[in-house]
Amino acid sequence: MRAPPEPAVVIQDLSRSFGPVKAVDRVTLSVAQREVFGLIGPDGAGKTTLLRMLAGILNPSGGRATVAGADVHAQPELLRRQIGYMPQSFSLYRDLTVRENLHFFAEIYQVPGGEMASRTERLLAFSRLGPFERSLAEHLSGGMRQKLALACTLIHEPRLLLLDEPTTGVDPVSRREFWSILYDLNRQGTTVLVATPYMDEADRCTRIGFMFGGRLLSVAPPAGMKVQMQGEVLEIVAEPRRRALAVARGLEVVRTGSIFGDTLHLTVPDAASAEPQVRAALERAGIPVRSLRVAPASLEDVFIALMGQAAR
């Protein structure tokens, strides 16, 4: 029998404090080769600090981690050659054009000359930056700049990608195209560790880790995360939506309520007993209920619920 391949990322009790603040608090995690692992959690949970340590940019205050075979603390040079890291604010060269930026990053990472042309074209296509290849980076819109940063990170097709909210400000169509590029790389063997505020992106990961207050509170595939949610989700169509929400939130049985696209989502401990109460309250308030059903929890519902559970 062959030994299983080494995990791509092994994290053991990794911590980082800033003064009294424990930004990352004893995180232990192992990510297998070819996983697409999503990190979610509220703003300030420690996702960025964790990724910066894994990229070898920030020293841990405790614990250890090996990324793509390199120790993050002892072998930063080796580490950097193996990975592509996209920080939250990526530094493009503002006085270089789109194409020049891509070439610049390709050169630093020694992309073979024969590969350059095809990779550049592909990345210009996904980012829709082709018509702007001669524009200076500083004249791009916010989302265009973000897409250029992504393209610069992907150009050397690293074995492991560490991405910190890579699609912030990116429009829905480009966001999808970006994910299809990620999948292609993944199929060719790239492991991905990505922090994201988009729950639809987290839903496409092989596993998700939920961070809160520096701790990694739970790790599971998306379907497993949904099972962990305590309570059920009632989905309601009622107009006016905002007034319906206010009425629902006023009820004791409703733990959280929010607008979800063109419906309302309420989390309740038990749908069967909550349903008549919610319906009655809305009708008393003169709000006609067009439909009311028990909905499968979306990852977004789970996120909200986990936040509530973690804070308690």
Binding site: I40, G41, P42, D43, G44, Q88, R128, F132, H139, L140, S141, G142, G143, M144, Q146, K147, E165, T168, G169, V170, D171, P172, V173, S174, R175, R176, W179, Y183, P197, M199, D200, D203, R204, P222, R241, R242, S258, I259, F260, G261, D262, S298, L299, E300, F303, I304, M307
Partner: protein
């Protein structure tokens, strides 16, 4: 159309006619007309580089239009900048906060910029800290705030002078799901108090919350109306949702089918655009099975705004400004 006649109506918060911005050869905003009513939450959508930020900057009087005109709250954006600035609140895409101030200092700074007296300042700053959930972080340095908190602070800075119109450029980008909802609760509160809100976003679920929307693409408005109206008017076909355990394979197989006009992933569900749902459902079941793809369900669905966004901006027959 002449603006003079419209400006007397008093009902409109924003009226723009033929508003245009060129950067050299590039036409960033290409002769757009906009009408935003007072008290409305107006969503401004479009792909990266479509011209959203450029438009908003012209409406704030920060950037000169190359051609066309605009009246905002009755003021001409070219000739009446000063009174206009006193009545609007602008939150830019990359809100520039002063990293070395504390939360309270930052808010107080803006309150002074708008010339509020000491008592009003104290009231306003305290009030915002209370209502926006920033309590407990008053003394935190701005540099250490994470995304959601920064955005709430930035919004606070934009509303210190109680503006009649809020222009918010991607206020929730990079903000976690819970903070995003709380941020929208704040937006609604202003709307309920009568403030007009113009907001850009790449989150289509947020766009559903707006009273009316405009889609801009390549500098031109390609769709406008209430979310429901836009959905009815702009989807060239029927929409099917397909769930399959191996969704990437299902996506590829669907794309290869001639009657599938477009196939896209929402989370792990496929949305397929077809001419006619009734004939496509059995055909899909047959063809995907033949391709060896296991399918859990195929069902017609009501389009979301994200489907419309793809249609309006993608290269789908019937979509886009030239389609």
């Amino acid at each position: 159309m002449a603006l003079g006649a419209l400006s007397t109506s008093g009902e409109a918060a924003v009226v723009a006619r033929g508003l245009t911005k060129r950067f050299g050869d590039l036409v960033a905003v290409d002769g757009i007309d906009l009408d935003i009513r007072r008290g409305e939450v107006f969503g401004f959508l479009g792909p990266n580089g479509a011209g959203k930020t450029t438009t908003i900057r012209m409406l704030c009087g920060i950037m000169d239009a190359t051609a066309g005109e605009a009246r905002v709250l009755g003021f001409d954006v070219r000739s009446q900048r000063e009174p206009l600035k006193a009545r609007i609140g602008y939150m830019s895409q990359r809100a520039s906060l002063y990293a070395d101030l504390t939360v309270v200092e930052q808010l107080d700074f803006y309150a002074r910029v708008y010339g509020l007296d000491a008592r009003t300042r104290q009231e306003k700053v305290g009030g915002w800290i209370e209502s926006s959930g920033l309590a407990g972080r008053e003394r935190d340095m701005v540099a250490t705030l994470s995304g959601g908190w920064r955005q709430r602070l930035a919004l606070g800075c934009a509303i210190m002078h109680h503006p009649d119109l809020l222009l918010l450029d991607e206020p929730t980008s990079g903000v976690d799901p819970l903070s995003r909802r709380q941020f929208w609760d704040l937006i609604y509160r202003f709307a309920d108090e009568g403030t007009t809100v113009m907001v850009t976003t790449h989150y289509m679920d947020e766009a559903e919350h707006c009273d009316r929307l405009a889609f801009i693409y390549g500098g031109r408005i390609v769709a406008e109306g209430a979310p429901e109206e836009i959905k009815r008017a702009h989807l060239p076909g029927d929409l099917l949702a397909v769930t399959a355990p191996e969704w990437m394979r299902a996506l590829e197989a669907s794309r290869a089918l001639p009657y599938v006009r477009d196939a896209a992933l929402y989370g792990t569900t496929l949305h397929l655009l077809v001419a006619d749902a009734e004939t496509a459902v059995p055909a899909l079941a047959r063809d995907l099975a033949a391709a060896g793809v296991r399918v859990d369900s195929i069902a017609p669905i009501v389009p979301t705004l994200e489907d419309i966004f793809v249609t309006l901006t993608g290269d789908i027959p019937g979509g886009g400004p030239d389609g």
